[in-house]
Symmetry: C2
Subunit: 268 residues, 2 copies
């Protein structure tokens, strides 16, 4: 598929602030026949991010059109990028600049079915997440911490790495959110200091609420994961992957990830 | 001047990781007749950044050629960008990808002469700098904190804003490094947790050493600036601007900024 830059197959102005400063946002979505799963939540997060960065707010209908154009048929992935646009030198956000919308379609990744049925292996990353409340939660383009964390391992048997913040609290995977069942409670790390508030994390919390189960957002220490009775990671593409091994230690199997995935299959 | 992408006037692949993740570095240089001031130090910092991010190391002669091509005659500014290149989706750094080199030339900015002679006004920014030692010091493309800080004021009489880290220590300006004379000692904030180790900061420290003056790198609290007997900010383009007012409070004039600028004028 061609990549659409402001609606047309094309390339990017090198002065785009998305490149110059990471001055923009993105969304990665599971798409079927031109429609993104949880499209409303993806666009709501993008809009919230735009509000936080004082970017122009994107038009929702335009974005839905770009998603459909980027992956019109079958099952695929669309990545949307929304930047402050091309401008001259300097950090100061310019007045009257047209934002840039990029929509790129990708084939659905070839993950093994065992990731859902048997679960995946996780490691801990050495690269930490710096904390900054003004950037926490939104999916902005400043992702060097994730790049450095993901560069730490080559072992294909490890599906994901968990990242801690500078205080040693567990925040998320490099490209996923984390849930753990601890003392009978479903816990997910609070994301008010760093991390990305994932759409599948939101979906899981909504699903849990429908089933009268509460998810507690709070700080989480690595030690607590050692006694967790279930651990799983979520993102917009995979849904939930149960974790069967964390840093070489076996993790018990639990019911939530599989039940959630069954429900998710009815949402497409 | 056209912008050079890998040596040719052109545009950027939207899949470039410089855009996707801020996965790259930059340098902004004062250039005269195709030669950058302190070129060796700029390229050394870029190389150190590439080493830290495990990017391919750029060829120094190639970079010097790009600088000359981007601004061949007269006085101007060249911004070099060095990214991990275009690749598929996912944080994992790909193997065997060609890095991208972008060189853009700009007119020399029209700053008023009074910035050097009378000094400038500074404010404190509310936006804090998150701390991460693996990214501290290098000039990478994740610059949203600086963008948000610079967006805080429109008052043209304010030349620069100072940024604190999350512990409340003063780190730098949005686009400059900071020096203060405190208790007879020249102090500049330590940059092991956040901030960019500027080339003009390095030049000032080298100049000070030549004049048997020590610059102490350490943590600096905002309160200490209230009793400083001289404050100035530096960057690769401006040299040193004496600060005459910080957050509405008058700052005494001191000798170092002017003496350094006189020396700097002999270096072009």
């Amino acid at each position: 598929m061609p990549i659409l830059v402001n609606g047309r197959a094309g390339r990017l102005d090198p002065l785009d602030r998305g490149l110059q400063y990471g001055d923009g946002l993105f969304e990665t979505m599971a798409v079927r026949d031109g429609r993104a799963r949880f499209a409303e939540w993806h666009l709501a997060r993008l809009t919230e991010g735009a509000r936080r960065l004082a970017l122009p707010l994107p038009d929702q209908e335009m974005l839905l059109g770009q998603i459909a154009a980027a992956w019109p048929g079958g099952r695929g992935v669309v990545k949307l990028i929304w930047t402050r646009g091309a401008a001259g030198r300097g950090y100061r956000p310019p007045a009257n600049v047209e934002p840039t919308c990029i929509a790129a379609g990708f084939e659905w990744p070839a993950w093994p079915e065992s990731a859902w049925s048997a679960g995946v292996r996780l490691r801990f990353c050495r690269t930490r997440l710096g904390r900054n409340p003004v950037l926490a939660g939104i999916k902005h383009l400043n992702r060097l911490e994730q790049v450095l964390a993901r560069a730490e391992w080559d072992d294909e048997r490890i599906a994901e790495g968990l990242m801690l913040d500078d205080r040693g609290q567990v925040i998320s995977g490099t490209q996923s959110n984390l849930f753990a069942v601890s003392a009978g409670q479903i816990v997910t790390p609070a994301l008010d200091q760093c991390g990305v508030a994932g759409i599948m994390r939101r979906a899981f919390c909504a699903w849990a609420a429908l089933h009268a189960t509460t998810v507690v957002e709070r700080s989480l220490r690595p030690r607590e994961l050692e006694t967790a009775t279930e651990i799983f990671v979520t993102n917009a593409l995979i849904g939930a992957w149960p974790v069967r091994e964390l840093a070489g230690r076996e993790v018990p199997a639990g019911p939530h990830a599989a039940k959630f995935n069954s429900w998710l299959a009815t949402q497409e």
